[in-house]
Amino acid sequence: MNRLDNFKAGFIRENPVFALYLGLCSVLAISTTLNNAVGMGAAVIAVLVLSNVIIAAMRKITPDEIRIPVYIVIIATLVKIAELLIQAYAAELYVALGVFIPLIVVNCIILGRAEAFASKNTILDSAIDGIGMGLGYTAGLILISVIRQILSSGVLNFSNPFTQQMIFEIRLIPQNFVIAMFSQPTGAFLTFALIAAGVEYLRTRPAKKAKEVK
């Protein structure tokens, strides 16, 4: 697998959210606004890339029998650092994401990539994998968030998480036609299921064609 393929894998074929169904708990819970999605995505990318790099760097000296506790200590430390930084510099985002920042520790994507990729590959490849997977997760999160935010509030906006300054805000649906349900968990499941079905179709369609040709 060359590096570009490795990078692209995280988007469609092995998209952590829609294809591997990893880290869904946080995706369903916080995908209410674009701001949350970008903030959470950035935190996950940072933790994922750094944990992948550190774990790859230590793959030769980490005893196999205790690799999981070692990974958990590394990941938990990185998450706590990310949490403190968000709390200090983006307080609004910290309130919005709440308990889901510390829960990045148990986000399956991160431990999953550490175990499946970083523990067997070089530092550079692991970093690329982390960026790819992290962007894949963020893309999935943003897609769900944008759909839910537009349908539930009719407005799409994005503000600078550090200063709370509004960067853009557009009203796409008049106030009287919004579907408030989409800000609730029901809306999260519905949006996720429909997109996941679409992604599944895209993933399996070429394979079927190939079979028919045979």
């Binding site: 005893p63 070692v70 200590v73 706590k80 650092i81 403190l84 709390q87 200090a88 510099y89 307080a91």
Partner: protein, 305 residues
């Protein structure tokens, strides 16, 4: 084998030490910023309570026996604001209450209130807030009749803040506590148009006859299973045809509602009531109309006996 275990333990210990060091470093950088943020979030609310204050600092709250105070802030040279969380009717209520240094309550601002719209939410209206602001930390605060649970919880929270403030400033004389609001009377009940209850027993002592009589209250009227009528002791002077006294023997209506009538203001209406006057009436206690009526029913039974 032992060597291997030792190796693992050492490896994990080293990893954890490095992790701990990294965390300590990041924490030392972010801790002051986080502390400042938490005040900044509260500052807008504090500024409403102390408009003249220029700087606020968090204050550590020790010896809060109630456990209701979640934070406190000193407004430099002006006073202290307490952030209090109490359990309301439906959900926790969070509010800020500010005391000037001389012990005057200068502000009450409700931050979070999820109690019933139109009932519990009355504590966030001038009706309640105006009754709090301007009092001192030694005055009692009245609850709102009809929103007793919510307003009682808020008053209890204010009381906890007052207790802490008074102890801190050396103000003696207590906190005043929770004051029950004066009884509110509703429609008058005419004694002679009410259906009579039942006389249970009767003892004659000279001119004064003491009746034990019962009247159907709320639970019986509404057909609650196993409901019992309220029982009263009624003393009537048969010579002057006047009521001497009425009091409860047994209250069988809803606790907290029916027993509202057990107040001097209510019973005093009966004293000296002319039982030969067909127009005699008693004012019902607002919110406990059925129980009020049960007294009149028992009285009618006693009169007709």
């Amino acid at each position: 084998m032992v060597k291997k275990a030792l190796h693992f333990a050492l490896f994990l210990a080293i990893i954890s030490t490095i992790a701990g060091g990294a965390l300590a470093y990041v924490n030392s950088i972010t801790a002051p910023i986080i502390a400042e943020n938490s005040i900044a979030a509260e500052k807008a609310n504090l500024q409403i309570i102390f408009p003249t204050a220029t700087s606020f600092a968090p204050m550590e709250v020790k010896d809060d026996e109630s456990g209701l105070i979640t934070a406190a802030y000193t407004a430099e040279g002006v006073g202290i604001a307490y952030k209090v969380e109490v359990l309301g009717y439906a959900a926790p209520i969070k509010f800020l209450v500010g005391f000037a240094n001389d012990g005057k309550i200068v502000g009450l601002s409700i931050l979070e209130l999820k109690d019933t719209q139109g009932i519990g939410t009355r504590v966030n209206t001038p009706e309640f807030i105006d009754g709090v602001v301007g009092k001192t930390t030694s005055d009692g605060i009245a609850t709102l009749s009809g929103a007793t649970v919510t307003s009682g919880a808020v008053v209890k929270g204010i009381d906890a803040a007052k207790a802490h403030f008074n102890a801190l400033k050396g103000i003696k004389g207590g906190t005043g506590g929770v004051v029950v609001p004066p009884l509110q009377f509703g429609d008058p009940i005419k004694v002679f148009t009410t259906t009579a209850g039942t006389v249970v027993s009767k003892t004659v002592d000279g001119d004064v006859t003491t009746y034990i009589a019962s009247g159907n209250g709320y639970k019986v009227v509404e057909g609650y299973e196993g409901a019992k009528a309220n029982v009263f002791e009624i003393k009537i002077n048969t010579a002057t045809k006047k009521v001497v006294s009425v009091k409860f023997v047994e209250m069988n209506d809803t606790k907290g509602i029916g027993d509202k009538i057990d107040a001097e203001e209510f019973w005093s209406q009966f004293v000296g009531l002319d039982i030969s006057n067909q127009d005699s009436s008693i004012d019902a206690v607002s919110g406990a109309t059925y129980t009020s009526q049960s007294v009149v029913k028992a009285l009618r039974a006693a009169i007709e006996d």
